[in-house]
Symmetry: C2
Subunit: 424 residues, 2 copies
């Protein structure tokens, strides 16, 4: 394999996580070891910034800032939800591709890394194919990232271990609170977590259960259609037994007709999905109305995916490893792959490594919680899921403190001089 | 002062906090040093359990469990919202008092400690007065507890430092997330925190601000009537400047007519207050509707007051000190007081100690954030507030971990044999 000399461009895309910056640190630190990589550029706000030629020079950042990315939530480069949509907007997509390759050529970008979820891996895949079609020599590797844990072929997705560690701890703490107030009248608390289509986060909160009596007592996953009567019977049974009931619900919970309980259909996001917000409130109203049991709700929202102060060290290390592996793969001449996480060993002593999967296998394929990993009644994950999830939350990221609050790293963002005229 | 020999009864009341168990540990550990205190009993679910003679023997608990209370959220003895209400239900209240003193006499209770907020201090005050009236020798000391920080005469309330430490960190993390996604379209995130009447928690999140540009950009406190036009102008100004805006709102935010934005008036709690839930959602609808700015909400709910995993060490130490001081005061012959926290020194080197305040000065008096501690436009606390709040969040409680999640202490709850017939 002939050595490819040139510059590196890295971007971050989609919803941030507690460890997407750890992957960025992995890319940057690994890139620094290879002389064929000359400049290291970051694209601001993902593809959107790259189209506008908004690049920063990462060699102008302090080494301590790069290391600090490993305990900094959100996307240090900024992120976007912009999609190069060849299906729905083929003309605009073709124009975007032309512009992207103008930017790549203008800055001699030969190594391209993009951290993101399904849509972002699709973007990387298209860029890889376009590079071949255009005869532009560039190596493209996708870095996995999503709290939703719904990318196929990888053991797990960086971001997932941290979000379930935080959410499970929150369930334990809320359960301690609610149970300590529980009297014969009974009470219920519903905790809403993220997960539009897949119930990975919802299921992950079951790690809070150290005994049969422990919360969460019910987990409602978007994969399993909601049946009101069965649910109310289970809530009543739980309140009768323990005087309280903790329910965790994924934001995208649907009824048998496929309608989301908490969807407000008048609001759409950039991808045309309905914005969800109210699954917990919808359930709370059902419980109060039908069972007359006092019910309160918690909606963690963005707080869950940004909760660096209780992030998983295992997750963070895997995220760094994915960034490093992406660079090594590209140096070895690979292109058109996503890095994946590979697990070996059993529950007691799991070892982690990385592998590669063709981007064509990833893009727009969603990975759901297997039905066989849930109890028969569908209200909790079973031991198969627990064995899978437990190793992902091991260890805590140490965040430096200043005045009793976390101290995060921040890029200075020294801009790379623009070489093109503004995007049309 | 003649030595009073007998048993001790301690209870916990009202909404739990991250450190109410630390106060309990303080009471128990201090009591163990004094021979005149023979048995140490805990009342389950506060006054409610005491009325039912549901007592546990704390001498049967492991020493490690007592120490573990210092890193365990919620109320280890259970709590209640039961009120001995002489005003509205004088006959029932008189009957309750008769029963309580039967229980006290049956178990030779001579030391009574009750940790709680306004209503609970009122209960302690009534018990103290009744003991004198009945000629029953018993020393009654209230232990302060409330995340709301609204007890008068004390520098601060145990529970408050922890809740604002967690909420401020959450604001920092959510702000990192939202700002990293911010594009020219702008976006807004509204974080709802507890505080029905007082804005102490809302104001405390401003500790997240390390520079003028930092979140929270707007804090909306229940003390300051909400003005929609002024608010929308401020949101727009912030989004124009930073492309995003983080708003923190106290659940009890009211308009000029005194109506709560998020109140659902059909639901009432045990004290007859309307249950609040939707201030953030109400604001979100206003912003989306009037400014067309994408808005998301976070509702921390019970998670904030139970967040042991990021509790303040200063708060925890003060909570322990309050429990210890209560016992010492009683041993010295005092009765009818609440322990208060006293601060000396300045911002750089604050020292903490405790004092005593007559319960009659405390009960049912609410302490609000002074208007002079807010900026002129009322949208943020000023430096006077910050100087007050900063020392309260110093240090982190170390919670032991097991399998990547917190390990909390739990009482075995060995029951004290009942000596009375069941409560009528």
């Amino acid at each position: 394999m002939a050595e490819l000399v040139g510059n590196l461009l890295v971007g971050q895309s989609g919803g941030p996580t507690a460890v997407i910056n750890a992957s960025l640190a992995g890319v940057i630190q690994e890139a620094g070891k290879h002389e064929c990589i000359e400049e290291i550029y970051g694209g601001l706000n993902g593809i959107l910034g790259m189209l506008n030629e908004d690049l920063i020079d990462i060699n102008d950042e302090k080494r301590s800032t790069i290391e600090g990315l490993k305990h900094t939530p959100a996307a240090a480069l900024g992120t976007c939800r912009y999609k190069v949509d060849f299906k729905k907007k083929p003309e605009k997509a073709a124009k975007d591709m032309d512009r992207l390759f103008e930017v790549f050529a203008a800055h001699n970008i030969r190594y391209f890394f993009y951290a993101g979820g399904n849509d972002s891996q699709d973007t990387s895949h298209k860029i890889h194919e376009e590079a071949i079609k255009r005869g532009y020599e560039m190596r493209v590797i996708g870095v996995p990232k999503t709290i939703d844990n719904d990318l196929p072929h990888t053991d797990s997705c960086p971001g997932y271990g941290s979000v379930i560690k935080y959410c499970a701890a929150t369930v334990m703490e809320v359960a301690a609170d609610v149970s300590s107030m529980a009297t014969e009248e009974g009470s219920c608390c519903i905790i809403e977590v993220m997960g539009r289509a897949a119930g990975w986060i919802t299921a992950g909160t079951a790690l809070a259960r150290r005994s049969e009596a422990d919360a969460p007592h019910i987990t409602l996953m978007p994969e399993i259609p909601f049946e009101e009567d069965k649910f109310l019977a289970k809530v009543k049974e739980t309140v009768d037994a323990h005087h309280y009931c903790i329910v965790v619900v994924g934001e995208g919970l649907k009824n048998a007709a496929g309608e989301e309980l908490g969807a407000d259909k008048t609001r759409l996001d950039a991808f045309g999905h309905p914005v969800l917000s109210g699954a917990a409130d919808a359930l709370g109203e059902i419980i109060q109305g039908k069972l007359d049991t006092k019910t309160r709700t918690v909606k963690l929202g963005y707080a869950q995916r940004a909760a660096e102060h209780f992030a998983s060290l295992t997750d963070s290390k895997n995220a760094v490893a994915c960034g490093e592996a992406a660079v090594r793969a590209a140096i070895e001449g690979k292109s058109g792959y996503m890095v994946k996480i590979v697990r070996s060993g059993n529950n007691g002593s799991v070892q982690w490594s990385t592998g590669l999967q063709p981007l064509g296998d990833i893009a727009n394929v969603e990975h759901f919680v297997p039905r066989t990993w849930m109890t028969e009644d569908g209200f909790l994950p079973n031991e198969k899921f627990m064995e899978y999830a437990r190793p992902l939350i091991e260890g805590e990221v140490k965040v430096p403190m200043e005045g009793g609050l976390p101290k995060f790293a921040q890029f200075e963002k020294v801009r790379v001089e623009k070489k093109l005229s503004a995007r049309a």
